[in-house]
Structures are given as structure tokens and as C-alpha cells.
Symmetry: C2
DNA sequence: CCCAGATATCGACATCTGTCAATATAGATT
DNA sequence: AATCTATATTGACAGATGTCGATATCTGGG
């Protein structure tokens, strides 16, 4: 491990880790990965991510996402922020609208970490 | 979908779902999958799972696990229970000792769901 | 049968989390 | 500028969660 884990974001940590099943996670790595998993550990955020990811071009407007749920607009905004902060979604503003896009590597790396495919 | 989701456990739900990125999760599926992800969304449980999984034969005694953490025995017991209840770990008692083993399919399926590998 | 050790359960507590209503901000249109 | 619409932020609150100490349960050995 050439770089100290301290400098890495959750996504970067996941990208460089062996699968869960191959060798024990260090306490540091676990502390760093948990927030990423936690961001996924909510039914609304799972659906949000899935909606964005499966949308045309892996990109969706907040206005569309709001309509897909029976939740207040601030609540959806909050969940999107959580997903954005851990690096699972990117934001881009175009005019009045905000578009969120998935970061496929982040999902792929996390899937590999959990699923045991070589990472 | 031939069987109602209502009859499926979290692990079974994950096993039958398309990857997050392929098509939008239904609200039902998301509600069912979230507990499984939530069980992983804690640094202690990530390490526990990783310790068990990477142990000899994918099996570890609680006594060994307790020693790996600076936490009380009831706390470790609680975390193991969480992992067991969602189906990520199996329990087996041999004499006074309790051994936990990973369910590799559960991890593999969850990894595929998140990572986008065909499920 | 009683004790000692391993693990689980209980009850309590502080902290974190999801949600909403109210409000703020920012961009487009008139 | 005034206003409308889209999104974010704030503050509040109920409920969930991680942790511990105390205690219960189970099992093997004396």
C-alpha cells in the first residue's frame, strides 16, 4: 500500500481493497468503507441510485426523481446529497435544473469488494 | 417474476434482482434489500464479516472475534446477531463455542446487485 | 449438583437518521 | 426589478442504532 489510507476518499479506499472474503479488513479501511455502504443502506437511496443509473445516459433530473416518490422535496434533496457526498452520484446544474449521474466505477468497485470479484 | 416478493427473504430478493444499474428497483424490492445492505453498513460488522470470511474454512469462533475488537462481548454478540438475522452469517454451536460461517452466495449476489454484474 | 467459562439477552443511554414544514437561494421570464 | 419555478438548507422531532453493564442461559468438568 503505497499511499496512506488517510488520504483516500471512501470510493478510492474501496477501489484499492481486496474483497471482503479474501483478507481481513483493517479497522481503518472499515471505517472508511462503511460510510459508502451506509449511503446505500436506505430503500429510498437504493431506488434513487437505481433510477438515476437506469435512466437515459445514467443521468436524471431531480424533478423526475421527486415525482417517483411519495416524499417531500427536501427529503429527496437530502438523500441525493448523501449519495453525492460519498461519491456515488455526480451533480451538474444546467439552467434551473440539477442532473445527477452515477459514477459507475464507484458501484463496480463496491460490488467487487462485497461480491469477492478480484479488485 | 413468478413468485411474489412478499415470500422472499432479503437474500432471496437480492439473488433474483437485476443489477441496480440495469433497471429501476421497485419500492418493494428496495425495502427488502435495504436491511441486507444496512447490516453491512457498519465498520465493526464489515470487519466481522471479513474476519469470518477470510478465516480458515470461512468459519470463526466468537471467542476469536471478540479478541479482535476493543468492544464489549455483548456488543460483538449484537453485531453477529445482525449479520446472522439477515442471512449473511450462519451459526453453529459446537460444545461451548459458537462458530459463525459466511454464506458466500449472499455476498456474491449482493455484490452482483451493486456492482452491475449480471444477476 | 454446583461451578466456571462462553455466549446471548435485557435495559438504559447517547447519538445518529429520516422526515417534514418553513425558508433560503438561484436562474429564467416577463 | 418582480416574480415564478427548481433545488437546497435549516430546525425540529420521532424513531432507530451502537454501546455498555448487569444478568441470564447453556455446556462441560469436578
Amino acid at each position: 500500500m503505497s499511499k496512506s489510507l488517510i488520504e483516500l476518499t471512501p470510493v478510492q479506499t474501496v477501489a484499492c481493497c481486496s474483497p471482503l472474503m479474501k483478507e481481513p479488513l483493517t479497522a481503518d479501511a472499515a471505517e472508511r468503507i462503511a460510510p459508502l455502504v451506509k449511503a446505500l443502506a436506505d430503500p429510498v437511496r437504493l431506488r434513487l441510485l437505481s433510477l438515476v443509473a437506469s435512466h437515459e445516459g445514467g443521468e436524471a433530473c431531480v424533478c423526475d426523481l421527486n415525482d417517483a416518490f411519495d416524499l417531500s422535496q427536501p427529503t429527496i434533496s437530502h438523500h441525493l446529497k448523501v449519495l453525492h457526498e460519498v461519491g456515488l452520484l455526480d451533480r451538474s446544474k444546467r439552467g434551473v435544473w440539477v442532473y445527477y449521474t452515477v459514477r459507475p466505477e464507484a458501484l463496480t468497485d463496491l460490488g467487487a469488494l462485497i461480491g469477492g470479484v478480484a479488485g
